[in-house]
């Protein structure tokens, strides 16, 4: 039974036709995948469906009847629940209130705190989340926040549930939990829309699929079982997609490490961290969310105090105080995992976003930065990374996620760093761009860059890393040479993560 249908939807923004005749239909009791490259229009479609944007053309049908939503409130009342791609929690509110925000329970005109607590607990339990509903959301980790949002969408008990990249920042374990819930909803006869760039997940839980390309649906409602992974990718990309084929790359192990950590402890709680990275080597740092990998990287950059041990760069013990220090004196760069807030300046031009690290180098008398040398520099990186922009003066905030990530990376390449720490480079990035990023990272290493790759994406780790270092609870659990064999490696890594210290000792 078709529960919900959107047909021939058109949505125009100043400067771009984001949706240009998209048709999508969701069946009761089935999970539908919505796929497409970055900027294809997936999120825009979801926003149109939930009444956030008014469509410039097309119709929405719920139970066969035409509907139009003036606001998210109306769509929610009509039974459509949604987890948006952006994180959308209210700081200063508790977990419970955030979950129940759409329909705060009241008794005698006042908000019923007990009801919030019990309701919230119910949905948190559904996701097997052990979080106190009275905790402020600001204290949550990224993954926890994501899961709370899912709980929030579930709490509406909607008949139609739209999930826009819900798994982008959670671990496979947590994702598995989510999928169990999705299965349950499906069995209840609800319709679920699932957006993800992780095709493994899509094939695991979805029944049917719609593929968007440049704002139009190129496949509308095909059964996923009849398609292969490659066919789906080809549809998204619009041509035959070649599998990633990385050239050989060898690390010269005789070279002295360019970055070495010896028994490092930090103010945030790391202890006894030993790590080495050689030029031309990709060291993968794996761990569950919250293991403390990003914090270790930030401590290295002087953003947090190092309390014990020593950090050696090119064999010299160093004390790095600021990012500027790291960049100028040690040629260390850091591509952050949080690109919206730390990676790009959303309200600034692409040119400035990339050039921010090189003004120091370009400046002439009195800090004058010649516009010409700047634009040339920027242009070359825009070209090399294939950043899709109309002009370098376009604001970074108007770019799709993938392009924002490229911008975030470009500034470190421009800075000519020799040690690059890359944190979760492909979160929310489509297959093709992801492959390109992988080629790029591989390539940077082949050219002699030392790379510390932090990722929670196991396939990515196994594709790229030369060695995999596993971290848990702010300590290094162990280190594995990478065989690039997925099945074998994934087992070893997972085992290492869950090894208790005693079993480690035994091993």
């Amino acid at each position: 039974m078709t529960l919900f249908q959107a047909s021939e939807i058109v949505k125009v923004f100043p400067g771009v036709r984001a949706l240009d005749g998209v048709t999508l239909s969701l069946e009761a009791g089935s999970v539908h995948a919505l796929l497409g490259e970055n900027g294809a229009g997936k999120s825009t479609l979801i926003k149109v469906v939930t009444g956030l944007y008014r469509p410039d053309g097309g119709r929405l049908l719920l139970d066969g009847r035409e509907v139009s939503f003036g606001s998210p409130h109306e769509s929610a009342s009509a039974g459509i629940g949604v987890v948006h791609q952006e994180r959308n929690l209210i700081p200063g509110f508790t977990v419970g209130e955030n979950i129940m925000l759409q329909k705060l329970p009241t008794s005698r005109g006042l908000i019923d705190r007990a009801a919030i607590r019990s309701e919230a607990l119910r949905w948190l339990a559904e996701l097997e989340l052990d979080i106190d509903p009275d905790q402020p959301v600001t204290e949550l980790s990224v993954a926890q926040a994501q899961l709370v949002e899912i709980a929030k969408a579930l709490s509406v008990e909607s008949r139609v549930l739209l999930l826009d990249e819900p798994t982008a920042s959670i671990t496979p374990n947590e994702a598995a939990l989510l999928f169990r819930v999705v299965e349950k909803l499906k069995d209840d006869g609800r319709a679920v829309l699932f957006v993800s760039h992780k095709l493994e997940e899509v094939f695991q839980i979805c029944d049917t699929v719609t593929v968007l390309r440049d704002g139009a649906s190129v496949l509308s409602g095909g059964a996923l079982s009849e398609l292969t992974r490659d066919q789906v990718v080809d549809l998204m990309v619009g041509r035959v997609h070649e599998a990633l084929n990385l050239p050989d790359r060898t690390v010269d192990t005789s070279v002295a490490p360019i970055l070495e950590l010896r028994g490092v402890g930090t103010a945030t709680g790391h202890s006894e961290v030993d790590l080495t990275v050689r030029p031309g080597e990709i060291v993968g740092l794996y761990g569950l969310v919250g293991a403390g990998r990003s914090e270790l990287a930030k401590a290295l950059l002087g953003l947090d105090r190092i309390t014990a041990g020593e950090v050696l760069v090119r064999g010299q013990a160093v004390k790095i105080r600021t990012v500027r220090d790291a960049l100028r004196n040690h040629k260390i760069g850091y591509v952050t995992e949080n690109r919206k807030e730390e990676g790009v300046f959303l309200e600034q031009s692409v040119a400035r976003n990339i050039a921010v690290t090189i003004w120091d180098r370009l400046r002439k008398f009195l800090g004058y930065v010649p516009a010409k040398s700047e634009t040339e520099m920027v242009k070359s990186y825009v070209e090399q990374l294939g950043i899709r922009i109309a002009s370098p003066s376009q604001h970074a905030g108007t770019l799709s996620g993938g392009n924002q990530q490229k911008v975030s990376l470009a500034k470190w390449l421009a800075a000519q760093t020799e040690i690059l720490i890359i944190d979760e480079p492909t979160v929310g990035i489509d297959v093709r761009t992801k492959d390109a990023f992988h080629t790029l990272i591989w390539d940077l290493a082949a050219n002699g860059l030392a790379i510390l790759l932090i990722t929670s994406d196991l396939p990515e780790m196994i594709t790229l890393a030369d060695r995999v270092v596993v971290m848990r609870d702010h300590r290094i659990q162990g280190e594995l040479p990478n065989t690039h064999d997925y099945d074998q490696m994934s087992q070893q890594v997972i085992r290492l993560i869950h090894a208790t210290p005693s079993t480690l000792g035994a091993a």
Partner: protein, 331 residues
């Protein structure tokens, strides 16, 4: 509780108590005399209310530069209605209160409709209202209104707690309940905290902005009533000195300029501390210059010193990036 112990409110409470004890000792206990306490509290009522009026708009990430002008205008209107037009006290007060509320509503509607920065809108309404206030009272001081109102303005519970102070506390209490425990209140704060998220959750930010400005106007209406009741008369200077204190109280009380924070208690406590400074000035016969100098120096000094502990958290939060914080602004 642990959270409260670390909160701005707790700090303010401690500072306030220490300050008060200091003053009591300095005055040789005179400050505890009924009359002294009454005077202390009498002039707290209006500062508390104007602080709250500003806090409400700060909570949605807006500013209200027209606090003084709204209050002054409403007070002038009430005074003129009673003195020149013989309108009865309750009716005049009601009209004044409603006028203040309506101006607040208008502020909100203008911000929403025109999408002009609230700063500019309230600046414009401020200018207009200053004109209207002058037009209403000119350079006179209007005081020919019924004695009953003035009696109320000066009356105190047990001779210590002025009724106008009680009214201010009641307003503060109602506001706290409204912001903490009612749906419109929560929605208002949600809009302030993260407008995009609020919108995605089906909350109308526009409505929140309008509600906040209207509430602000209404609170100022109450402030105007208390002013008319307790001051020797109404003239064009009423409200002239409200703007800075209206910001100082909530911000010292812990409100964020970016919105999303409801700090009723903090605002009230901050108003107390500011009031203690006045009392100290009278007690020690200080020159106002010295008072200002000391207040400024103490605030700056405590800000510099008090950072030793917070500094580390501050640095961490720059780094750790709470994922939920999204820039303010009204969508």
């Amino acid at each position: 509780m642990k959270r409260f112990a670390r909160s701005t409110e707790m700090t303010l409470l401690v500072i306030g108590i220490v300050f008060f004890i200091g003053l009591v000792i300095a005055s040789g206990g005179d400050l505890l005399a009924a009359n002294s306490l009454r005077v202390l509290l009498q002039f707290l009522a209006v500062p508390i209310l104007i602080g709250l009026a500003q806090m409400v708009v700060l909570a949605v990430g807006q500013l209200n530069l027209a606090v003084g002008a709204i209050g002054g205008f409403a007070a002038a209107a009430m005074g003129v209605l009673m003195a020149d037009h013989g309108v009865s006290v309750p009716l005049a007060l009601l009209i004044g209160f409603l006028l203040a509320g309506i101006v607040g509503l208008l502020n909100g509607v203008l911000v929403v409709l025109t999408r002009i920065n609230g700063f500019i809108v309230t600046l414009a309404t401020m200018t207009i209202l200053l004109g209207v206030q002058y037009r209403l009272v000119g350079t006179r001081t209007v005081d020919a209104y019924p004695q009953g109102l003035k009696t109320f303005g000066a009356a105190a519970l047990f001779g210590v707690i002025p009724w106008i102070f009680v009214v201010a506390l009641i307003v503060a209490g109602l506001l706290a309940v409204m912001l903490k425990r009612t749906v419109p209140g929560r929605q208002l704060l949600a809009s302030g905290g993260n407008p995009i998220a609020a919108r995605l959750s089906g909350i109308s930010n526009d409505r929140s902005v309008i509600v906040a400005h209207t509430l602000s106007g209404a609170i100022l209406g109450v402030a105007a009533i208390l002013t008319v009741a307790s001051s020797p008369g109404v003239n064009k200077s009423i409200g002239g000195d409200w703007l800075l204190p209206s910001f100082a109280a909530p911000i010292i009380g812990g409100a964020l300029l970016t919105g999303g924070s409801a700090v009723v208690l903090g605002t009230v406590l901050a108003a107390f501390i500011v009031r203690f400074v006045d009392t100290a000035r009278a007690e020690f016969s200080l020159e106002p210059s010295w008072v200002n100098f000391v207040v400024g120096a103490v605030v700056l000094g405590s800000v510099v010193l008090g950072q030793v502990r917070t500094r580390r958290q501050e640095r961490r939060s720059v780094v750790k990036s709470p994922d939920v914080a999204v820039a303010g602004g009204v969508s």
